[in-house]
């Protein structure tokens, strides 16, 4: 972090008009310098308010993906193909969905290989426990 750069609070920025800028202001990803970002997991990073991680786009969604731990085989297809970094995976295990960042595109459900799927789209207003109760049963393979 260069010394002559000013760290600006998000409240200060929000008071400004759309065409106003604070000269010398820099928007940093982190509140304090992080030596090696790759080593620090998302939960432990000192995010600055100007990092988009602190914001949310969850209200774009109409349907949300619900995760069923009992069926999951931890293949991580949902993790690698999620465009919004919303699949939380730690120690090779899938933990859950970050609903603040999920835009509800449904890719994770499409790529899920289990039968029945361990991720399914449910209406946004439905409770996750309610969704888990309504989970479909295993589909028999169609014989051609």
């Amino acid at each position: 972090m260069a010394k002559d750069m000013k760290h600006i609070d998000i409240e200060e920025i929000q008071k400004l008009g759309w065409d106003e800028l604070i000269p010398g202001a820099a928007l940093f990803s982190f509140r304090e310098p992080v030596e090696d970002v790759v080593e620090v997991p998302m939960e432990e990073r000192p995010y600055a308010p100007t990092n988009s991680h602190e914001w949310q786009v969850g209200d774009w969604r109409v349907e949300k993906p619900v995760y069923n731990r009992d069926l999951c085989i931890d293949c991580q297809f949902c993790w690698v193909f999620c465009p919004d970094m919303s699949i939380l995976s730690r120690d090779k295990k899938m933990i859950g969905v970050i609903y603040e960042h999920c835009k509800g595109c449904g890719i994770c459900v499409e790529v899920c290989p289990t039968n029945p799927k361990s991720l399914l789209m449910f209406p946004e207003h439905m409770d996750n426990d309610e969704a888990l109760k309504r989970w479909p049963q295993k589909e028999e393979k169609k014989k051609d």
Partner: protein
């Protein structure tokens, strides 16, 4: 240092350096490609981004989605920004003037990687002269083209990457026209002919192939060009959840063949061997029709009067696949 990625579970241990809650469309391939590229290495990365979807959606004032050093530059000069960073880094390294934190990483064998991201508009059309110049000078950086075959950020105008028959806002399909009239230009060969040591074509749906190629590109010294297929839900008009499926159809039908071209050069920059490898061969080549049918931008081609364009597509794709196979066989 090459990051060891044996399988997807190992890959999932990576900590993302690209943050969520950016404003890209739901189901956008750009994000998937950027993630896979950044996660392919543990070394520090410096990113230069040309104007385009990726830039306007990940850096909306006062927010940033990047946890790596990031430069936004004009539409036409992402390659120059990356080349300049690369040249400056080399001078600072030679003179011993690197910042202590960077110097420490370099001592550990973790050289910073310099990557430029640009869309197909910023690569095929507007950014071509600066890209060509940077490749000719031979700077050490990687250029990733996020090829969604249209100017998606400005409302879907045709670019020179748009394939024949696609309906865009400046080449609309209707009773008179079947859409875009020109064939897509082959950027991979153009960049390989610049004498770049490593040039490859990738698709986000084949993540391992992509990561391997990116790692190979980071290892070689010199300009590296990666052409990445980026299915666009907004302009290809498919449903957001079908992004991976559409990308897969492109690969399986050989519309988007996955291959690499390696130019081996001596110390004077003279190429003594060129080799083309096809890195993924579909087990069963599916007809192009299936790829076209998955995207409503080609819907009008299925009308009886436009059927000849589909035949043309199939012919062009078959000829290209044949060409690639022959080149691989001949080892040139």
């Amino acid at each position: 240092m090459v990051k060891k990625i044996k399988n997807l579970k190992e890959f999932s241990l990576s900590n993302d350096r690209f943050e969520g809650a950016n404003l890209m469309c739901p189901g956008c391939s750009h994000n998937i490609i950027v993630r896979e590229v950044l996660n392919a290495t543990n070394d520090p990365v410096i990113v230069a981004t040309a104007t385009g979807c990726l830039e306007v959606c990940t850096a909306v004032y006062p927010k940033t989605s990047w946890d790596v050093s990031w430069i936004h530059i004009g539409f036409e000069n992402a390659a120059v920004a990356a080349a300049t960073v690369s040249a400056a880094y080399e001078v600072m390294k030679r003179k011993g003037k690197l910042p202590p934190a960077t110097q420490k990483m370099v001592d550990e064998g973790r050289e910073p990687k310099i990557v430029a991201f640009a869309g197909d508009g910023g690569t095929y059309d507007i950014g071509f002269q600066s890209l060509s110049g940077a490749f000719e000078r031979g700077h050490n950086f990687m250029y990733v083209c996020l090829d969604n075959e249209v100017y998606a950020n400005t409302g879907g105008q045709r670019s020179s990457s748009t394939p024949i028959g696609a309906s865009t806002t400046t080449s609309p399909a209707g009773s008179v026209s079947y859409g875009e009239k020109m064939q897509k230009k082959s950027m991979v060969e153009i960049m390989a002919d610049h004498g770049a040591p490593y040039v490859a074509q990738v698709s986000p749906s084949k993540w391992k192939d992509l990561v391997k190629k990116v790692q190979k590109g980071f290892e070689v010294y010199g300009p590296v060009y990666i052409n990445a297929q980026s299915a666009c839900t907004t302009e290809w008009k498919h449903a957001p959840e079908d992004t991976i499926e559409v990308s897969d159809l492109g690969v399986e039908s050989c519309v988007w063949p996955l291959y690499e071209i390696i130019n081996e050069r001596d110390e004077h920059g003279i190429i003594y061997s060129t080799k083309l490898n096809i890195t993924y061969r579909p087990k069963k080549k599916i007809p192009v029709e299936e790829y076209l049918a998955a995207q409503p931008r080609f819907r009008h081609l299925f009308k009886p009067e436009n059927r000849h364009i589909i035949d043309l597509w199939q012919k062009a794709v078959d000829a290209r696949w044949e060409y690639l196979q022959r080149r691989e066989e001949a080892g040139v």
